[in-house]
Amino acid sequence: MKKSRKLLAMVFSGALLLTSCGTSDSGGGSSAGTSSQDTDVVAAVSLDFTTMDPVDTSDTLSGGIQRLIMDGMFGFDDDMNNIPMLATGFTANDDATEYVLTLREGISFTDGTPWDAAAAKANLDKLADTSRGLKRTSLLGPIIDTVEITGDYEVTVKLTQPFGAFIATLAHPACVMMSPKVLEKGDAECAAAPVGTGQYKFVEWESGDHLKVELNKDWWGYEAGLADKDSGFKSVNFKVVTESATRVSMIQSGDAQFIWPIPTESYETLDADSNVKVYSDEGIVVYYLCMNTQKAPFDDIRVRQAMNYAIDKDAYITIIRNGLGTKATSLIGPAVAGYKKNEPIEYNVDKAKELLKEAGYEDGFEITQYYSSNSANEKTAQFMQQQLAEVGIKVNLVGQESAITNALIQDCTKPGSEAEVDIYHTGWSPSTGDADWALRPLLATEMCPPANYNISYFANEDYDALIHGALETADQDERNKLYAEAQDIIWEELPIVPLANSFNTWATSTNLENVKIYKDGAINIRNAKFAGQ
């Protein structure tokens, strides 16, 4: 008797709980429909934010949030084309060593400080100051020589060397403009409480939990026609939800109106849910496999060719990317300026074996693949092991803490011939939208670890000459030509196995519209609004 009463109570409270979930769900929807302007949008993201100082940010998520709070002199439209933002235009001299930037007038930062040449100089000076130890001073630090105020709304930037990618680089999320008042307070303040001219104002950030931004009704962009003013919500609360199953259940239950990214294995589940809209869009992250070209056996081009034939890119896309990707046709995605299409290398085990035989590895060889332990990396590593086993290459897998792996791979101080890395799977998105910020950091000789990300230890003089040549001109046609040649060299020398162009995936509740992800993976809610607004 007692037992059955307990059971009854349990069933009853369970039912209560269910109905209360139901009401909160529909309540959220209807309040949005009736356009109460106080509504919060809750967004669940998979990673924590690292810092709010754009000059010290190396992750796309934090950079994306900063882009909501602060505008750059140049920025992107939804398709990642370069558009003028706080600058209205520029002129450059012929050899791309001097740029005159004209600034937009009549704009203030959200703390009341006016946006003018002095503010622009303060920001550019910070970007050029390599002595502060901020990560992204590597972008423009070695390039900018002097910044001069040549008018109330005009600055002249002299460069140390010709740099044709200057305007594209100014659109990088690291180059957004912060209020000089905050800059004066020092780097710690910039990292904690940013103030910009942006569409959103920073409200609060609790590390590991959430970051909240509020709409800035006085944003200059509304009048400039960049976005529509009535979004139907007041603020956006980005919650850090690392467990992917929790993110999925949050969007299904209505606790979040937007999640990023969708765990690939839950894509179909969410697609079938009528309360959720899923999106996928080709991004500019290219996934590839590095091979250490300074070390045997990968110092032999035939072995590198064999590796390219041995890995089935279609299977990679189906199994690893859950079908959300296309075969890589370059080291950069089609949406990146300077992209040149090459034909993906076919999957051909016989050809791979033949090449290995020619190179003297008829019986294969044994290599080690390091990876940072998480379920996605572990799956990819096993996939490589299976594929390469087919041609007789034995891959030993070593999964470790990401700090240990990074120390071994990215921060390795040894020359390529002594580095531990044999092969390494990774992906890269050039957040400037320009070929330079992929082709140079990933394969130029001076970019070998620990300087940057040339994990293939690729050293090719012709390639370096083309990449540096393209920086010495501001003529985009000339630059495209040089980058095309550089991409042809990659296809001939094959220091990498190009695998796939990724898709960005995200999901929103059906009543939230126009939430997008930029091609580089950053969140774009410039035009987001509730349905019916």
Binding site: S244, S266, I319, L397
Partner: protein
């Protein structure tokens, strides 16, 4: 004299058998464990597929006639992988506990029999190890030694050692002062004869019970370590590792978590049931 001795031993064993036979659940567990041992020995012969045999066209399929436990994220047969995982889990469990039991017993004998500084040192060291929950201690050891199955064995051995040490010491303390040991000593027997002929056998029933119970526990800990990414490396078909991978597919492929979880559950349960049965059968205080 020796004939009598044998008779005593024989009747003691008979007594044990008689009591053990009444422990129905322990016998059931023993049968299952024997089957598991057979599986562990012949797993590669009986597994219908190779453990690394992938088929990208049938990934994450539910249980079927072709794949009894379904397939995993690479289309590998889960039944074959779990069968072969038996060998890994049983080996790790047995090895770790054997190492822990031997070292713990030796240290316990020394501490109990000789006393003094040796006893203080050994027992305080055990107290330190006891201060940490088993899994935390194992994680700390793995953090120092690095991941991998050998280090898992070492980690589990270290944390199971102090239990044996304490158990043996208390048993030694009780037997050391008994009349028959005193008599043997007055007859001029050496320390080693007393230790291994009289004191250790008295502690044996306790050691056996603890040994059986610890195996279950250590299989669980080893699987937990692999689940946390500190034990077996992919693509080893270790149960904890398969379970950890399955977590990602919890919503759309339940079988990926269900079957490795069941395998761990059944094995650990059987060892614990067997341990319980042995304890009841070996306890002289429990009469039938």
């Amino acid at each position: 004299m020796s004939k009598d001795n044998n008779k005593v031993k024989f009747s003691r064993f008979n007594d044990f058998l008689r009591k053990f036979r009444k422990q129905k659940s322990a016998i059931f567990a023993l049968v299952i464990l024997l089957i598991l041992v057979l599986i562990a020995i012949f797993c590669y012969q009986i597994a219908p597929y190779g453990i690394n045999e992938y088929d990208y066209s049938s990934v994450l399929q539910g249980p079927s006639a072709a794949h009894w436990f379904g397939t995993d994220e690479f289309g590998r047969d889960l039944f074959s992988r779990i069968l072969c995982g038996t060998r890994i889990s049983l080996t790790v469990g047995l090895c770790a506990v054997t190492v822990g039991a031997i070292s713990g017993t030796v240290l316990g004998l020394i501490a109990g029999y000789y006393g003094g500084i040796a006893e203080s040192l050994i027992m305080r060291m055990c107290d330190v190890l006891f201060a940490f929950p088993g899994i935390i201690l194992a994680i700390a050891i793995i953090a120092i030694l690095g991941s991998g199955m050998t280090n898992v064995v070492i980690a589990v051995a270290v944390f199971s050692m102090p239990t044996f040490c304490r158990l043996v010491r208390s048993s030694v303390l009780a037997t050391k002062e008994s009349v028959y040991v005193q008599a043997e000593r007055s007859l001029g027997a050496t320390d080693s004869r007393i230790l291994f002929k009289h004191i250790l056998p008295a502690a044996f029933p306790n050691i056996i019970v603890q040994y059986t119970m610890s195996i279950g526990n250590s299989i669980m800990t080893a699987s937990s370590l692999s689940f946390l990414g500190m034990g077996a490396q992919a693509p080893t078909p270790e149960w904890g590792l398969i379970l950890s991978t399955g977590r990602t597919y919890m919503v759309n492929a339940v079988h990926m978590m269900l079957f490795p979880g069941l395998a761990i559950f059944i094995t650990v349960l059987c060892f614990n049931l067997l341990g319980d049965g042995l304890r009841d059968a070996l306890d002289p205080k429990l009469s039938d």
